[in-house]
Subunit: 250 residues, 2 copies
């Protein structure tokens, strides 16, 4: 029988986002180990369609922080990495071989490949960081001002920022683990099924979690939290941004 | 100083895709452990915008295999999971709250969120599986006939298959670890830089790897491998498919 409760799985199940870091820096050795772990993940057709930008310049990091809804913890300790979907490298290699692949690269599937490759790599980096006792937080907020962030980081065509990832030494008590959707809500057998009955029961559980976390009674159910972010963050400029970078054009 | 060479990172660095499995099945306990590990990953704004379909019916799995360029190992041992970006659940919860979020959900950023959430979860599942001694292989090929796969799996609007993930007990000798792009090629400091000089040197190294793997001299450099798949797999139907599922419409 397979061993289903080993130390690595226990580590995965303990994941919480960390938004408070000590001033202790990450050494270059640690950064190299983190990026190397990220690189070990699978990539679509082994194209390795992603890049990682380590924002170490103080002034630049402050500007990227402000562009990402000014979430202050992004600029207080630890290190800020920006993960990008990168089709530029493939395109340049194709040029070297005298082949034109712009039709593929400028289609929406290639943009998805960039987001997928960046994410498989990023999650490996998260696991590696947490295995060292470091804490992490994804920053989808860099897409809220994606144009500005791209200018700051000198992002060329066929490349787009997917999210930031802050990694540092955790300060203070970690949050409790946030309850996920029940297993049965995300797991389907053979065909996709409507699971809304299960999802609705879960909604109350999340509300209890937030009441405990904040120490007072909230009206913060899962649905309200998720739906609020959908209302607040339509990112309706995304298509134009991608098109301007010669991505997702068809 | 941080410990940069622990057992978990060693495990990440050993990753290779496995395309040959014994007939030993995965127990339901293992599947539950794998999916639970997947769920522990971060998701965008805690929306949990993904679903996992476990294709256990023999006839269905054969049909999905055929649709994915008929890669036979997909249907020989182990288990086939299909990861989907799932905005349908959020949309239904918003309806319950009397809120219309279709403008957000039907924009391209929400499609990216689905691909990202599915991928962070999938990579956690990979790590969990490998920690149990199981082998894995991603199947981007399910997007080659995404319309057919979606019909087979009864995928509703606002949901799209991202890739398959086969997980099983490895049979035979594993491949050697495939050499990744050099650290310096994917890692940028502060701004995106043109790294083509570094990438070109790596190209030869990959050719050596394939010569060793196949036991005869090949013309299979990294660039040729990557560019060939870009030529062969434009997936130019993807935009229409997504639009038909009320995704990536603007």
């Amino acid at each position: 029988m397979d061993k289903v409760d080993n130390q690595i799985i226990e580590g995965l199940l303990k994941h919480v986002s960390v938004r408070s870091f000590t001033s202790e820096p990450l050494s270059d050795e640690v950064v190299k180990s983190l990026v190397t772990a990220a690189q070990a993940a699978s990539t679509a057709s082994f194209q390795q369609s992603y890049s990682i930008i380590d924002v170490v310049d103080d002034d630049l990091r402050e500007k990227v922080t402000q562009a990402a809804r000014n979430q202050r913890f992004m600029n207080q300790g630890g290190r800020l990495f920006v993960f990008c979907g990168d089709l530029n490298r493939n395109e340049k290699m194709a040029q070297e071989l005298g082949v034109d692949v712009s039709q593929t690269i400028e289609g929406i599937d290639a943009t998805l490949v960039g987001a997928i490759d960046a994410s498989l790599a990023a999650q490996n980096m998260v696991i590696a960081a947490e295995s060292m006792g470091l804490g992490v937080c994804f920053i989808g907020g860099i897409r809220d001002n994606i144009e500005e962030v791209s200018e700051l980081l000198d992002i060329p065509e066929h490349v787009f920022p997917v999210y930031g990832l802050v990694i540092g030494h955790p300060k203070g008590k970690l949050n409790d683990i946030k309850p996920r959707l029940p297993f049965e809500a995300v797991y389907h057998k053979n065909q996709y099924q409507n699971k809304m009955d299960i999802v609705k029961k879960y909604d109350k559980k999340t509300n209890d979690y937030y009441n405990d976390r904040y120490g007072y009674k909230t009206d913060r159910s899962w649905a309200k939290t998720a739906v609020n972010s959908l209302i607040k963050l339509p990112r309706s400029f995304m298509k134009k941004f991608l098109n301007d970078h010669n991505l997702s054009k068809h």
